[in-house]
Symmetry: C2
């Protein structure tokens, strides 16, 4: 889970929110009374103190206290809330655990936050067909825990997996360190129960390979809570590998490390994870986690392979042979469970460790793997140009970058500089043939950058699809699309 140090109460959000609907604010008491008729008393949160707990998500530099918060316990309750808000013209911001790094769950003043975290039960596990059906408020890790006794797991593993919900994972099409081998959420999702804005409950997909007609499940996955509210999900569960083992490799330049990544992937080897850290990141993580990382290198790769003992030995041998062509300054294959755990502890605590020493914006761009060395050099130049530091920690195998742009929220103007540097980095990703996001989604963070990725025609098509589900733009309305571009059908 990302813990940012940012706590400046008067932080200026440079990302604009639309002006709240005065008519809705004026009817606040009536709206709350209406919601109270639909749900048990404890499921409707109205006091300012309690609402404040929902004012932001993991993009903590931005915050707005919502009109009200509802925490339904069933699909029927979700449907009742949506039907009511639809009839009343009230905006709804769906929320899982509020761990979005892109501001996907940030409320608006005139919106009801619809949190589904109470709906956290496992409904059915089918080991023969390798599927699990869950309520959508369950945490990502709880799915793996529910199937671990039979040796299974749920593959996508965001850093926030202890806290984040499968509903949020579906909304943002979340990934994780092990997605290089197993794919992201959309590759592991089989079906959902979704409530449309008018309260209609639909089933999309199911516990089978494909579905006839258009790929509605694919469309819903990554739609950031704008097409409906997901209340149940059927996911693929996988057999745990017999074993897994990481290797550590240190290089004296980020370019060499990047070239080594490209060579490994170009050779057709798909490790289960291939993580990259630059010198600032290595230093902070080693100080925090005592992972045994080499401190005299400019770039560190963590490469994990899995399978039977024979498969692991074979894959590591091939990987080491490739790495040696790039003259690594350090090269170590883990030889024990404890050593493997320490190596991963360093990586997994990276964002938290960095948050102790600096505020940061965690960017999430994607690039063709072959562009790694060039892009890392440019990221460094961009941040230096703004007088800011940067640490790079990312999923190198699939070209998914997470530059952490470092700033001090208490220095006036630094947040704005960090935002500008972050935007430049994302534009660079698009320029080299990549894109604005890998696994965090658009949210409010990248909303105004969408025109750098898409033509007006492209954006209009997407917005018209949104209109099919939500003609009045009441669901998570200020996200994903530039505010001035709204198309009404």
């Amino acid at each position: 889970m990302v813990l940012s140090r940012a706590r400046r109460e008067d932080a200026v959000t440079t990302i604009a929110f639309p002006a709240p609907d005065a008519a809705v604010l004026g009817r606040r008491e009536a709206i709350i009374a209406g919601l109270a008729r639909l749900l048990p008393a404890e499921a409707v949160i109205t006091s300012e103190d309690e609402r404040r707990a929902f004012e932001t998500d993991a993009l903590t530099a931005y915050r707005q206290v919502p009109l009200a918060v509802v925490l339904p316990s069933t699909t029927e309750e979700v449907a009742a809330v949506l039907r009511f808000c639809h009839a009343e013209g009230v905006k709804v911001v769906p929320r899982g655990a509020g761990t979005s790094l892109a501001g996907g769950a940030i409320p608006q003043e005139d919106a009801v936050v619809l949190g589904i975290a109470k709906m956290n039960r496992v409904l059915d596990i089918d080991f023969v067909n390798r599927t699990a059906r869950v309520q959508a408020g369950i945490t990502n890790l709880a799915i793996s825990q529910a199937v671990a006794h039979e040796g299974f797991f749920y593959a996508p593993d965001p850093s926030s997996q202890l806290a984040c919900t499968i509903a949020g994972n579906i909304a943002m099409n979340s990934g994780g360190a092990h997605c290089l081998k197993y794919g992201v959420t959309t590759n592991n999702l089989l079906g959902v129960t979704m409530v449309l804005l008018d309260g209609t409950v639909v089933e999309i997909g199911g516990a089978h390979l494909d579905a006839p007609g258009y790929d509605m499940l694919g469309l819903v996955c990554g739609s950031e809570g704008q097409l409906g509210v997901i209340t149940e999900a059927t996911v693929r569960i996988l057999r745990q590998a017999e074993g897994a083992r990481p290797a550590l490799m240190g290089f004296d330049s980020v370019e060499t490390a990047g070239a080594c990544v490209a060579a490994i992937i170009g050779a057709g080897i798909i490790p289960v994870a291939l993580e990259f850290m630059d010198r600032p990141a290595i230093k902070v993580c080693e100080a925090f986690a005592h992972a045994g990382y080499p401190l005299d290198v400019e770039a560190l790769l963590i490469i994990e392979v899995e399978g039977s003992e024979a498969e692991i030995e074979d894959a590591l041998k091939r990987i080491v042979a490739i790495a040696e062509r790039f003259s690594p300054k350090a090269l170590r294959v883990s030889r024990s469970e404890a050593e493997s755990a320490a190596i991963w502890k360093g990586r997994k605590s990276a964002f938290g460790a960095m948050g102790r020493i600096a505020d940061y914006l965690c960017m999430d761009g994607t690039i063709p793997t072959g562009q790694l060395p060039h892009v890392l050099k440019r990221i460094s130049e961009i941040c230096t140009g703004y007088g800011l530091g940067v640490a790079n920690i990312f999923h190198a195998g699939d070209g998914n970058l997470h530059p952490l742009v470092l700033y001090d929220i208490n220095k006036p103007g630094e947040l704005e500089k960090a935002e500008a540097a972050g935007a430049d980095i994302l534009k660079l990703c698009v320029e080299v043939g990549g894109c604005l996001t890998g696994e965090h989604g658009v949210g409010i963070e990248k909303r105004d950058l969408m025109r750098h990725q898409y033509s007006e025609v492209d954006l209009v098509q997407q917005m018209r699809i949104r209109g099919v589900f939500d003609p009045a733009w009441l669901l998570n309305p200020a996200k994903v699309f530039p505010l001035d571009g709204r198309v009404v059908q």
Copy 2:
């Protein structure tokens, strides 16, 4: 490629086509003259004899001669044709190689067939980033051939891969025997250039991991030519495995073979292919290909694993250990290239071999793997009930069934019985938690079964999405959705 014996010229199509638009038929000469102004002379086909070559696809029991056929060579020519047809209100049926088994490319009398087979060039290959950009009329196999010299291949492998185009693969989200490990088309597609009905050219996706906003690429993949015409595609290419080796296993009942499949998949082993043939299929394939299949068994499994020699040995050892629990009557691991080639030749010629001895409808349902034994028993009962034979050849590992319902097109009433049996089989797939299609798509074949899979709400949502791209329903209009259900926005 599927070759059906069916040649009865007066075959009654029990699947209705809508009545042709008399106004369009009346303007035929003017429409042809308009198309001739946009394209070189040889790219506009108007004579009845030449148009007849496009009257059907691989679902050969159904045929209609189109108004005209155009064969553009560039994205600009495709755009010009679509712009013209849009302005004139003329229907367009996009066509790759015409190998659809679901009637996805069958024309209509008042429609222009837009064939993209001339656009068959490789545009760019990037081995470091493992991507290839191609024109969409290239054949599936030609992509693999273009990258084979560097040891790469394109993974999805429909039986028709020698003939079928990547555009058709994208339209139907095609699969193949090796998709158990590598996924179907949607899992291997990175981007497309698509022409909208009004002639606008859009770029969707690209050579990167993900794209921000809605998953438009996922939506387009499998949309059966109804959202636009794809003219270029960027696909993932993969490194060929060092080696691959199949094993053959014969069992004395289909139930036991089905249970063995469930046990292998349930143990978390993912072979690169896991194919199933029942006794009628084994007999026909062995007679045709001399593959060395055992003839005294009720069901045969072909299981292929790949990787380094160590990985292959390890995986086969685990698979054989599981199989032995089910007392196989035959169990043989291939020990030579020649033996492997013979085993696959038998399987890959199955549809052609069957077509020499009977007419058949090749169904394409998907079920949860654990339901295999039950479903196979019911398929046999259903076909017996109609007095028809059935042969089962399918991708068992991912629950993708291909029952071949055998009939004689020259016996009046048999085609209708085969259609009824086929429909019963697909409804059975839905009943057990599966779905109407795995990799062939809906086309006209399953159009009228869509209500067995979907509620009216589900279908209306899909049709409204169609309306965003094609409000007048001019693109491949009589496919995918029940004819009486059309929703106008």
